[in-house]
Amino acid sequence: MAEPLIELEDVEKRYGEHRALAGVSLRVDAGEFVALVGGSGSGKTTLLKTINRLAAPGAGRVRVAGEDTGAIAAPVLRRKIGYVFQEIGLFPHLGVAENIAITPRLLGWDRGRIAARVAELMDLVDLPRAMGERPPAALSGGQRQRVGVARALAAQPAMVLMDEPFGALDPLTRDALGADYRALHDRLGLTTLMVTHDMAEAVLLADRIVVLGEGRILADGAPAEVLATTSDPRVRDLLEAPRRQAARLQARLGGGPA
């Protein structure tokens, strides 16, 4: 079996008295698209952040591409991992192109290579190149998150961490952006971990779903497989939510062509 790209071993994390992660072990192989789901306070965001050390684990070990993350300087580690989150966090004093170029600049790429990469990425995330000079404030929410995705991919990382990346977008934009990202994931051969509270999104985009509750993994597997095998009512409840919702919608709107 191939070496896992990301490996967590008995990872714990406390915030004061609160135990956000209570001993989590997880392996993610190259090329996987994993959705981390669970209720509020289940520890899914904390788990994601222990991978790029935005949260340092209190105990246990995190390995990325075989290297213990505790042994690498955090900025060096983060430049190899794409990171996208709900608030996006574009730098308001930099233009779109400069925002996308930030990690390559930190890595000391030369000008020509950066310019070419920025142009390539704007095509990739479907942004008109003319937008490169604009400040983030002049963009729509969906355009901004496209810039966020482009920025995460700029330094050609092998893996991308996403924390509710499309949570703040309107449903149509959200759908389109999710599908576009999944296509990119396949095309570029990325490994993606995505935190989401939207079960439909998780089921539709991910190959594998990891369900967290109270800082522990409750279930882990392909969506259909998890649903078929789980005996935990919390997991079942969560996974069946989209179907229940669809049924209620059907009932209220009347049966149309699916």
Binding site: N52, L54, A74, P75, V76, L77, R78, R79, Y83, F85, E87, I88, G89, L90, F91, P92, H93, I102, T103, L106, P135, R151
Partner: protein
Amino acid sequence: MSPRLSASLALLPNYLAWHVALSAAALALGLAVSLPLAVWASRSARLRWPLTAFASLIQTIPSLALLALFYPLLLALSTLARGVLGHGFSALGFLPALLALSLYSMLPILRNTTAGILGVDAAVKEAADGVGMTPGQRLRRVELPLAAPVIMAGVRTAAVWTIGAATLSTPVGQTSLGNYIFSGLQTENWVDVLVGCAASAALALAADQLLGLVEAGVRRRSRALTLAGAAGLAAGTVLALLPLIGARERPAYVVGAKNFSEQYILAALIDDRLAAAGARAQAKADLGSAVAYRALAAGEIDVYVDYSGTLWTNVLERRDNPGRAQVLGQLTAELKRRDGVTVLGSLGFENAYALAMRQDRAQALGIASLADLARQAPELAFGADLEFLSRPEWKAVAAAYGLRFRTQRSYQPTFMYRALAGGDVDAISAFSSDGRIAANRLVVLSDPKDAIPPYDAVVLISPRRAGDARLRRALEPLIGRVPVEAMRAANYSVDRDQGKLTPAEAAKGLERALGF
């Protein structure tokens, strides 16, 4: 243009140059210290509170007091440096003013920079970490640029404060626009006072507007606007500093003066005598009474005129009064022994502290001596100059006669005479050589118990000029040659309301009267 205004404006280039040099240096130093401290404070909540509390505390100290406090501190440091390193530095003038003003400028910069950095959106900070910035890169590339408008607003406030407070550096011996205000207030030259106020206000306004341009530039991320503001500031500073370049030939002698008309006139007189002997001299006026002697002993000024009784009580801390000749003789021996200061001799007149009343009021109350005054003092109001009530002479007089007034207030000397004339106070602490005693029809109360020591005006020479033959030859002709009437007339020509002379003109008149 009126001759007073043009005389006043002739001093502007030099005063303005020093004012700009001092303010710009203080602001630059304040920035250099405050910015790193503010970054540190924004990183550590535990440091934040004590640091802003300290800066706020400094802000509550009156700026004049802060400037005054730096002089003894630097003097002690300089003495220490002389002991350890072999040479000291000047504790007077630029350095104390610079340090006090820098401290004063810290609060707005510190507060705004900390607030600016802490105010950067948390999502943007998380993104900076997420893309792999080190803490230093995050600061330089994200936090400082985003906080820049807030920081600039703080710098603007600091600049206006510094330029305003720099007028107060005159009493510690630093030339500034404050020279207009301090000497103008003393000699009632309101043209000078107005020119000083207007110039410092205009300077503050100009600096504020140019920094405002820079602030607008960073706020709107307009490089052109930022550069325009910065270029304006740089050009203005260089232009203002031009008078200092070239004219930096060091004068041979520094002549000190305290902060009243007689001192200005005598300093001008000494200047003239030195010039006549072919030596360049520079005046350092408006020094505090205690500052002047210590500055001389430390060699920061070369020569000035003080009064035997002042030195007797304040420097030698003597409380007895063995008589005029004895005081002068012992003083000459003691100052030489203690500090190496040479008492060249008495100019020939006394400027004693004396309690004075309006003639009509004294007659009506039947008061002619301090003993008479003491009997009626509980019903009377007393006005003193700013230092008299804290001087040992006052304590000696009050103890000798049992003086106790209904109220006592301190005034700047000019306003003290006004208060007496207007009846706000019944008696004042006057100076016996003051022309206003005769002009205002005042009577000086006699001192039958000799509680007030004699105050012969004496020329003092600093230790390092003790063997300077040229200086002695230039000044010895003045010894014993100045009668009190001539001094009174000269003082009055500066202090009167109509047809005022400048101290330099009065000194020329005095020289003519003395036959030089």
